[in-house]
Structures are given as C-alpha cells and as structure tokens.
Amino acid sequence: MIEQLFSNLAIFVLSLLVGVEVISKIPSTLHTPMMSGANAIHGVVIAGAIVTAALADSPTGYVLTFIAGVLAAANVFGGYVVTDRMLQMFSKPNATPVNTDTKDPS
C-alpha cells in the first residue's frame, strides 16, 4: 500500500515538474490554442470513466458511470477537435505570426 502511494506521489511530483518546464515562455498568440490543448489532455479522465464502468454493479454505480461517460467524452472529443480546428488556421503557410524557434513545418 505504502509502496503504491510513494510510487504515485513520485509520479505526481515529477509530472508537475514536466508540466512546468514544458510550458516555457510561449507567445501570447498561442495562449488560447495552448489552453485548449491542455484542456483536451485532462479529458484522460475518460479512462477513469472506463474503470468506473468495469466496477459498477449497482444502480448508483450505473448512474455515476453514465454521468462520468457523458462528461468525460464531451471533454476529450470536443477538446481535441476544437483545438485542431483552431490550429489549422495557424498552420497555413503565411500564418506564422511569431518568430519563435519554429521547427520545420513538414
């Protein structure tokens, strides 16, 4: 039990550090797509909904599964689609409005 807790805690702390470092100074032009992209990632809660479904065996469980399923799916599907739609506009050839360290746009 305590092994598991330490393991999860270490994972949590190190992921926090990764999160801080991966968002270094970004141009304000990209703030909205970036926010939306991060938003889509927390849609991973759908994995939680799946686990909930597998454990459910009572009416309460089913109701909660349904709620979790609807909400999580809206987050994950909507999040990725809307982010992609937004970024499409940025990836047009003349639409690189900031001169950051852009990788090759292949």
């Binding site: 999860n8 938003n39 609807v70």
Partner: protein, 474 residues
C-alpha cells in the same frame, strides 16, 4: 502488481510521453497542429489500454459497459458538434464548458470509487483523501467554469456580480466543504457527508467566479483548467491509475504557468482577478446600460471622407478589434489594405495581444484572410510605428487603444495599449458610441484629430474600398 498491470503501467508511461511531446510542439505555430495530433495519439493509447485492462481485470457487467457506451456516445456527439460549429469568437466559453465537464467527470469517478469501496468498513487515508479532494476541486471547477462560460457568452452579466454578504457566504461554503471533507476522512464511509462536500463546493465555485469581471474571464478559464487537471490527478490516486495522475498533474502545472503568463500579458495579477471586482459588461451582446449617445464634440465622417484621407496618406496603421471579429470583416479589411498598398500607401496592422475575445484572436482572423505575417506588427513595434503614422484606422477596437489606460483608477488602468492617439490623425469605424468590453468611455473618440465613421465594420470597410477605387481611378 501483476506482470499485466506492469505492462499497462509502461504503456501509460508511453502515452504520457506523447502528451509531453505534443505540448512541447504546441509552443510554435508551425508545429502546433502536429503536436495536438500527437497528444491525441497518446490519448488513444491510454484509452484503449484502459479498456483492455478494465475488461480483463475487473470484468464488469453488461449493463455497466452498455451504460458507458451510451454515455460516451452522447458526450462525444455533443463535444464534436459543439467543437465543429462553434464560432471562433466563442472558443473561450467552449473551452470553459469542456473544463466544467472534465471537472464533473473527475468528481463522478471519485464518487463511484467511493460507492464501490463502501463495502469495506473503513477506507484507508491514501484513498479517502484523494477522493475528498477530487470531489472538492472537481465541483468547484464544474460550477465555476459554467459561470465563466455564461459570462463569456453574455448569458450571465459580465459585470462583477456581488450582493451583501456574498463574501461571508463564500467563506462559509468553503468552511463547510472543508469541514465535511475532513469529517468524511475519519469514521466509516458516509455518502451523505460526501454529498455535503459536493454541494458546498458547487456553491463555493459559483460564488468564486460570479464577482469576476467578464474581461478577466479568459484568465479564470485557464486557472480552472489547471484545477480540472488537479482533480483528474486526484481521481488517478483514488483509483490507482497512473495515466490520470500523470496527465492531470501535467495539465495542472502547465495550466498554472499558462495562467500566470496570460495574466501578465493582460497586466493583471491572478490574485487580484480571483478576488474579483474588475471589468464589466460586454456591450455588444445585450445593449447593456451604455451611456446615451451624445454626439456633441464628435467629428463624423462619411466613407468618402475616409477614402480621401487614406489615399492621401503615406503610412497607415490599421487597429483591428473585437468589432472586426463580430462583423466577420477580416476579408474586407484585407482587401482595403491590398488596394491601398497597390497604390503606394504603406499599410500595416497594429495587433494588440488581447484585442478581441481571446489571446491572439486578431492573428487568427487576419491569417484566415491571408494577410502576410510581415504586415502584422505586435505591440511594441506597432507603438514605435504610430509616431510616424498619418492615419490610424481603428476598426471595431476600443479598449485596446483607450488612452485612459495610462491614468490610474479605471477599468483598463495599467493595461499596455496601442498608442493610436500618437498618429497624426485617427479614423474610427464602429456602429455607435457604445463602450467596449471594459464598459468605459474612450477619450480617443472625442479627440479633435479623430473622425468617427459610424457603420458596421463589414459594410463600412466595403464602402470605403469602393470610394477609394473611385477616387484613385477618377
């Protein structure tokens, strides 16, 4: 931990790596889209792995899986339809809604794991603490995000809403939520107590966001994004799922940093924003209590006047704002600029980072209209250019060029602005004298060197283009 669980854990690590690579690529415009796709790939890996794992290790009932399938389908359709049809101006409220549902889902997962565990006499603290925290944070972000979305959409007034005793009620809600939470940790599992935590947290989330001004809503959306991430991480602790812990912590930290950066770009402190009070209604939605139109002191122009002024000018700077977006006039403005350039006028765009209703809004729109990158000047370059500019053409912008920002004590004080008032002359295209997002009047419009051309941005720009054409061919 079985070997199977070990393999699942390793696959989760791979998925997490894809999330990180995706976020990394989202830093630069040219790779951002690819980054989002990679992140989506990581999500697919995580989801498929979880399905296989849950089916094999827990089994579950047919009803459970059926309910999930129906629920996910409903949610997916809702999400995709919304994402596909949303207007670009309404993106922040949609992101906010996705925050809300994410937080809600995390709370539901915690509840479910609590219900499933109540068979056992007492939960260990390593499970009950994350469950309580998850319900708490998830509910706050659920309620708060819905309110923020409502404010951005104009359903709820963008004015800071307060009433006597609101602050006290807020503190009370927080105390109840935390108190019931701590109580729930000790003693036998008690669903009622968890419901109390839920309701108190919802009330707290509601009261937290209501007093926040509409102009600050995007920062709050980003902050609640970080909260949802934390809630998801807590759900991961509760059900011992590393994918949730990693992704949740990632978003929690990244969202926090992003919030700080956004607040800095809008010259607000996050603390001051959360404590509320700044900003007011969006005049464009409901024609809120805006000052009666007082047209004394104002020089009005016609399309022909503007056309002559522009055709004579050497250096023109266009200041686009929310009105350009609202009128969908990006193509018209690009056409006018092209016409002027082809007649030897030097035309550039002066882009404010928070012009419009989302950060980088104007860049998105002008890119859509194929305006070349070199013509878009960001804040500092633009302000250097105004000193040498003959005509500043303000199209549906207001707050971003309000000189009152330079004096303290009003709703835009301290915001870095575009110095349109430094140009030799100014032309403003908007429909009326109504204020912009911050709800305050703009002395630029009554400046003697300013001429107002009252029109819808799309129509007004088209008229000017026609007039310029006549003038230069005549």
């Amino acid at each position: 931990m079985s070997t199977f669980e070990f393999v699942v854990g390793v696959v989760y690590l791979a998925a997490a790596t894809l999330f990180v690579v995706g976020l990394h690529l989202m830093r630069a415009p040219s790779t951002a889209r690819r980054g989002n796709l990679i992140s989506a790939g990581g999500m697919a890996v995580a989801v498929i792995t979880t399905i296989v794992f849950a089916a094999i290790s827990s089994g579950g009932t047919w009803i459970g899986w059926g309910v999930l399938l129906v629920g996910v389908s409903v949610g997916a359709v809702f999400g995709i339809v919304q994402a596909r049809t949303v207007k670009m101006t309404a993106i922040p409220q949609l992101v906010s809604i996705f925050n809300a549902v994410g937080g809600g889902a995390a709370a539901a997962v915690a509840f479910a794991s609590f219900v499933a565990d109540t068979d056992s006499s007492a939960l260990s603290l390593t499970v009950s603490i994350p469950i309580v925290l998850d319900v708490l944070i998830g509910s706050v972000t659920f309620a708060g995000s819905l309110i923020a979305a409502g404010k951005l959409q104009g359903i709820i007034s963008g004015k800071p809403l307060t009433f006597p005793g609101a602050r006290i009620l807020n503190v009370l809600a927080a105390l109840v939520a935390v108190g019931a939470g701590i109580w729930a940790l000790f003693g036998p599992p008690n669903l009622t107590l968890l419901l109390v935590v839920l309701i108190a947290s919802l009330v707290f989330g509601l009261l937290m966001v209501l007093p926040i001004g509409g102009a600050d809503a995007p920062v709050i959306v980003s902050l609640l994004n970080a909260f949802t991430g934390l809630a998801v991480a807590m759900a991961g602790f509760a059900i011992n799922n590393q994918a949730l812990i990693i992704a949740g912590a990632l978003v929690g930290a990244a969202g926090t940093i992003l919030t700080l950066q956004m607040a800095k770009a809008m010259n607000r402190s996050v603390g001051a924003i959360v404590l509320g009070g700044f900003g007011t209604a969006d005049s464009s939605g409901t024609a809120a209590g805006s000052p009666a139109e007082d047209l004394t002191n104002i020089r009005q122009l016609t399309a022909d006047d503007v056309a002559i002024q522009l055709a004579y000018a050497q250096h023109v700077l266009i200041v686009p704002g929310y009105g350009l977006a609202a009128a969908q006039a990006q193509h018209e403005v690009a056409e006018l600029a092209k016409l002027l350039i082809s007649h030897g006028v030097d035309v550039k765009y002066a882009i404010h980072p928070v012009a419009g209703r989302m950060p980088g809004h104007m860049n998105v729109l002008l890119a859509e209209a194929n305006v070349p990158y070199e013509q878009m000047l960001q804040l500092d370059d633009a302000n250097a250019a105004f000193d040498n500019c003959d005509v500043a053409l303000v199209v549906g912008a207001n707050d971003v060029c309000n000189p009152d920002a330079r004096t303290p004590g009003n709703a835009v004080s301290g915001m870095p602005i575009l110095n349109a008032d430094h140009a030799k002359s100014v032309v403003v295209i908007k429909r009326s004298m109504r204020p912009g997002y911050a709800g305050i009047s703009n002395p630029l419009f009554t400046d003697p060197k300013t001429g107002m051309f009252f029109a819808d941005a799309k129509k007004g720009l088209a008229d000017i283009t026609t007039a310029v054409k006549e003038y230069v061919t005549a």
